[in-house]
């Protein structure tokens, strides 16, 4: 009989419980069991960053984490960025600066950027690149993403005081 473990976690402020095989990856828990399908799977070996979510405020790759490793944790996924449907300033910036094309990698980028902007109020280009080096986009060539982040920084900071 396959061993199963109870996992309790909070995602986007909502508590969840699930009984899972220990081998279930976190992204498969989020997508398959909890129905949070905005987090995408691109490589399942921790290189592309499409599956990036926040755990305790830190950007992590949910494809190379086991669900059981997130037991007790508080997570945030792309669905948590705009709970009422209103785009988050980072999302607004992506739309205005054309920071996406196919949009498959985008949720992962958004979560990495969310963490960056939590930690740094005014990151320079090098800091932005460092934060996004682990997110692969095959469409945009990154220029519009860099511009989107600059715009998001401006939006989050607000007008100069």
């Amino acid at each position: 009989m396959t061993q199963r473990r109870g996992v309790r976690l909070t995602v986007n402020g909502t508590p969840y419980e699930a009984l899972v095989e220990p081998r279930l990856t976190l992204v498969d828990l989020l997508r398959g069991e909890l129905g949070l399908v905005g987090t995408h799977v691109g490589c399942e070996h921790g290189v592309c960053g499409a599956c990036t979510v926040l755990m305790e405020g830190r950007a992590v790759r949910s494809c190379i984490m086991l669900a059981v490793q997130a037991d007790g944790a508080s997570l945030m996924t792309v669905e948590g960025l705009s709970p009422e449907g209103q785009l988050h300033p980072i999302q607004e910036a992506f739309r205005e600066a054309h920071g996406l094309q196919c949009g498959f990698c985008t949720p992962g980028f958004l979560m990495s950027i969310y963490e960056l902007l939590q930690n740094e109020r005014d990151p320079d280009d090098e800091a932005i690149k460092d934060a996004l080096g682990g997110n692969i986009c095959r469409c945009t060539g990154y220029q519009s993403i860099l511009e989107s982040v600059r715009l998001a920084v401006a939006k989050v900071k607000g007008p100069p005081t």
């Binding site: 995408h40 196919c102 990154y142």
Partner: protein, 804 residues
């Protein structure tokens, strides 16, 4: 009937276009940004099973037996399929060239590592992968050939024994008196080049959910299909079903770049669903499956090429010999990538004669697929290297030699030796633009200063053509015989004057729904939000192709404008009847139907549509009450290939000129891209921001091809790059942020003057980077001719030269 469509945005029925030609925020984005787009892996259907595929660990092996009984005994495993099922239910895949295909599951032997051998459907993907380990296959390994040169040799193991050869195709196309040109040349510039396999790698792999209806004997598949209509035809042929029994629903997909693949996986899930009594079966290709067995690989090429040149730099002839390794079968249509270069064979240059010696070879490697650009990127790399070598030998600046050979603006439309016709172009203007952007003279000074310090700085300057709006005739010589690629749109107005456009393709990233909305909003004088674009399944949609071949922007523009014309004509007939005016006196302008010259005599869209739908008693007798019209656009004037393969194939010829500065570290072999300037001319820009995104995305893929990406096989046909740890996609650190400037030379042949614009940089960037690297290396007396120019290769090249 082919309609006369507006030649320019100024011809739209609006005082001044509010959306077309503007940087418009994409209508697709809110859905994508919030993670709500229904990518295929999000699809869950009642009773759905999960497929896993067992793949050959051998590059070439006879399959002695396949035993699935232990897997079937595992609780939760519902169905298994093997080559025997494929042989019973399905035909071998259609291929180009014809007759080099196999079934979706290996029947008698496996021909490449990763070829599907058996598959099963279980209640979860985890369980399915467990069960795969219980399938027992007895293989009898056969000799492997993974090198195309060895494959051509008479003693090579054969992929298809009945063919008696591994050469899938061999032909020499001669356009003009090439021998004479080379005899009369002052110099002949020749070299050999190697372009290693690269490929698409969209961030989303292929996925499908298939249902077999056992009662109706019909198929429904949801998947990330790039070309749904054609993919449906393929399934229809494979399963010997009439086309109206095959319904494909294309989900939004996470990129494609031509390399989505998915034929075998779809067919396998269809058979599994059939065995499972019609339960839906999902297969999500994982990344390792994609790399080893998907639509992931393209362009595995050996070139020998020559230019005939006069001492003044005039190029008088071009000869290219290509051996292209297509892998185990021709199922992936990789061969089209070897024929497409004929659409822009001589690049931007007025080279009068040319020859193409083309050999397509089978080896025990993954069948090659299309990839963005569809073949010319390696060809352009070869041609542009030869131009640079000629410039260096003749002591002419690389910009100057190109300038002397450009097709001048007054010679368009211009037919190149290989038969295609270029619509328009201002190549010298693009060159001058990029030289000015980069301050070329100063760059050369800076380079000289760097060299004096012992640094290896190089400048690459390259001009290319992006053939746009593909037609099948471009691939006619390898068996794609038809002409015409339809793109249909159905548009309708509702009682509030809002618009729905129905298309046959799903979201893929190019912003085409936004384009349709822009066109319709301007045509009918409404807001962008008043237009809704939806994708229909293949049995509901008008004939369509979808994204591909640098075509959809132009084709969709034609389709939308055609349907709009038809709907406008209908509205005019109704409105003129209602307003008791002559039809010819009523026009649609700025969103109202108005009587010309009569102030205040007008009807709003919703009034006309309201009458059509709710007051049919008021309608003229010859108008049906349906405010909906369809138009299917295809490129006009395409021709059959002649005896030398010459055809008018791609409708438009966009042009780009790239200027790039690199520095090579001779001790580490690393290449640093210091500056990058682009002048890009794709005719009328319908949404300039999305065009810029297409260009920059192509730069990234070009950087990957030039410096990072490579599929490596060993002698036993084992893929050594089966993860993203080894197949290296560029990240934000490797891709240069480029400076771009548009030029606009409208196409005289297309609606609104737009040209195909999705591929320009992938055609140009690899060539530009390689030219820059070779400029940097020129003081060392070496030249890189192998792509990608990896650190190890560059270091070895430099070291071997200094040793010698």
């Amino acid at each position: 009937m082919t309609l006369e469509l507006p030649k320019s945005p100024d011809d739209l029925p609006v005082s001044s276009p509010k959306w077309v030609g503007k940087d418009v925020k994409r209508v697709e984005d809110p859905l994508l940004l919030t993670g709500r787009a229904e990518f295929v892996d999000n699809v869950v259907l009642p009773g759905m099973l999960h497929c896993a595929i067992l793949r050959s660990p051998y590059a070439h092996a006879r399959i002695v037996s396949v035993d699935t009984s232990a897997a079937e005994a595992l609780p939760g495993v519902v169905a298994t399929v093997t080559g025997a099922d494929a042989e019973r239910w399905a035909r071998p895949s259609f291929t180009a060239p014809e007759g080099w295909g196999t079934h979706c599951l290996a029947v008698d032997k496996a021909r490449f590592v990763g070829e599907p051998v058996a598959a099963l459907a279980a209640t979860s993907r985890y369980l399915a992968e467990d069960a795969l380990e219980l399938i027992e296959v007895e293989y009898e390994p056969l000799p492997v050939v993974s090198d195309p040169m060895a494959s051509i040799a008479s003693d090579s193991p054969l992929l298809f024994e009945d063919k008696g050869t591994n050469v899938m195709y061999q032909r020499v196309f001669t356009w003009g008196d090439v021998d004479e040109a080379f005899e009369a040349a002052d110099r002949v510039i020749s070299d050999s080049f190697r372009w290693h396999r690269v490929g698409a790698n969209p961030l989303e792999t292929f996925g499908v959910v298939s249902e077999w209806d056992p009662v109706a004997e019909a198929i429904t598949c949801r998947g990330s299909f790039q070309s749904p209509g054609y993919f449906a035809l393929g399934r229809s042929a494979t399963f010997r079903l009439p086309p109206n029994k095959v319904r494909l629903i294309s989900q939004p997909h996470g990129g494609s770049f031509g390399g989505k693949g998915g034929g075998r996986g779809t067919d396998i899930t269809i058979m599994l669903s059939r065995k499972a009594g019609g339960r839906p079966v999902k297969w999500t290709e994982d990344r390792m499956e994609y790399l080893v067995g998907g639509g992931s690989q393209a362009w595995d090429r050996f070139y020998e090429a020559s230019l005939a040149v006069k001492n003044d730099g005039t190029v008088t002839g071009l000869k290219v010999k290509l051996i292209d390794d297509l892998g185990a079968t021709a199922e992936g249509f990789g061969a089209t990538g070897a024929t497409k270069p004929m659409a822009s064979f001589t690049g931007c240059y007025a080279i009068p004669v040319a020859q193409y010696d083309l050999t397509l070879v089978a080896t025990n490697k993954l069948p090659a697929s299309p990839y963005r650009g569809m073949g010319p990127p390696p060809h352009n790399f070869v041609l542009e290297q030869l131009m640079d070598i000629a410039a260096r030998e003749l002591g002419i600046d690389p910009g100057e030699i190109r300038r002397r050979n450009y097709i001048p603006p007054d010679r368009f439309p211009y037919t190149i030796p290989s038969g295609n016709e270029y619509d328009s172009g201002e190549y010298e203007a693009a060159l001058d633009t990029v030289l000015e952007m980069g301050d070329y003279a100063r760059l050369r000074e800076e380079q000289a200063a760097a060299r004096a310090e012992g640094r290896h700085v190089g400048i690459g300057l390259v001009s290319t053509i992006e053939p746009g709006v593909f037609d099948w005739n471009a691939y006619g010589v390898i068996g794609q015989k038809s002409i015409g690629v339809p793109e249909g749109v159905t548009i309708s107005l509702d009682v509030r004057g809002k618009i729905v456009a129905r298309v046959g393709f799903a979201l893929e990233g190019q912003g085409q729904y936004t384009l349709a909305a822009q066109l319709l909003a301007d045509y009918f004088g409404v807001e962008l939000d008043d237009v809704q674009v939806i994708a229909l399944d293949t049995l509901s949609a008008p004939p369509h192709f979808g994204p591909g071949g640098s075509r959809l922007g132009v084709a969709l523009t034609g389709a939308v404008l055609g349907a709009s014309h038809r709907l406008r004509d209908k509205l005019v007939r109704v409105a003129s009847h209602l307003m008791e005016a002559k039809q010819e006196d009523v026009e649609l302008f700025d969103g109202v139907l108005r009587v010309k010259g009569v102030a205040g005599a007008e009807m709003k869209l919703w009034q006309v549509v309201g009458a059509m739908l709710m007051r049919t008693d008021l309608l003229p007798p010859d108008v049906d009450p349906n405010p909906q019209e369809t138009y299917v656009w295809t490129a006009p004037g395409r021709t059959q290939p002649d005896e030398q393969g010459r055809a008018k194939s791609y409708l438009t010829a966009a042009n780009a000129c790239h200027l790039v500065v690199v520095e090579v570290d001779p001790d580490t072999g690393q290449v640093d891209i210091l500056k990058y300037f682009i002048a890009d001319d794709c005719g009328t820009r319908l949404n300039p921001a999305t065009v810029e995104g297409m260009v920059q995305g192509g730069v990234a893929q070009g950087v990957g091809a030039a410096l990072l990406e490579e599929y490596v096989y060993d002698d036993e046909g084992q893929l050594l790059t089966s993860t993203f740890m080894d197949y290296l996609l560029p990240t934000i650190h490797e891709v240069p942020m480029t400076e771009k400037r548009p030029l606009v030379t409208p196409s005289p042949f297309t609606p609104l003057g737009a040209k195909g614009a999705g591929e320009s940089a992938i055609h140009t960037t690899p060539a530009a980077i390689m030219c820059a690297i070779n400029d940097a290396l020129s003081p060392l007396g070496v030249r890189a001719t192998e792509v990608p120019a990896t650190p190890n290769r560059l270091w070895k090249l430099i070291r071997d030269a200094s040793d010698g």
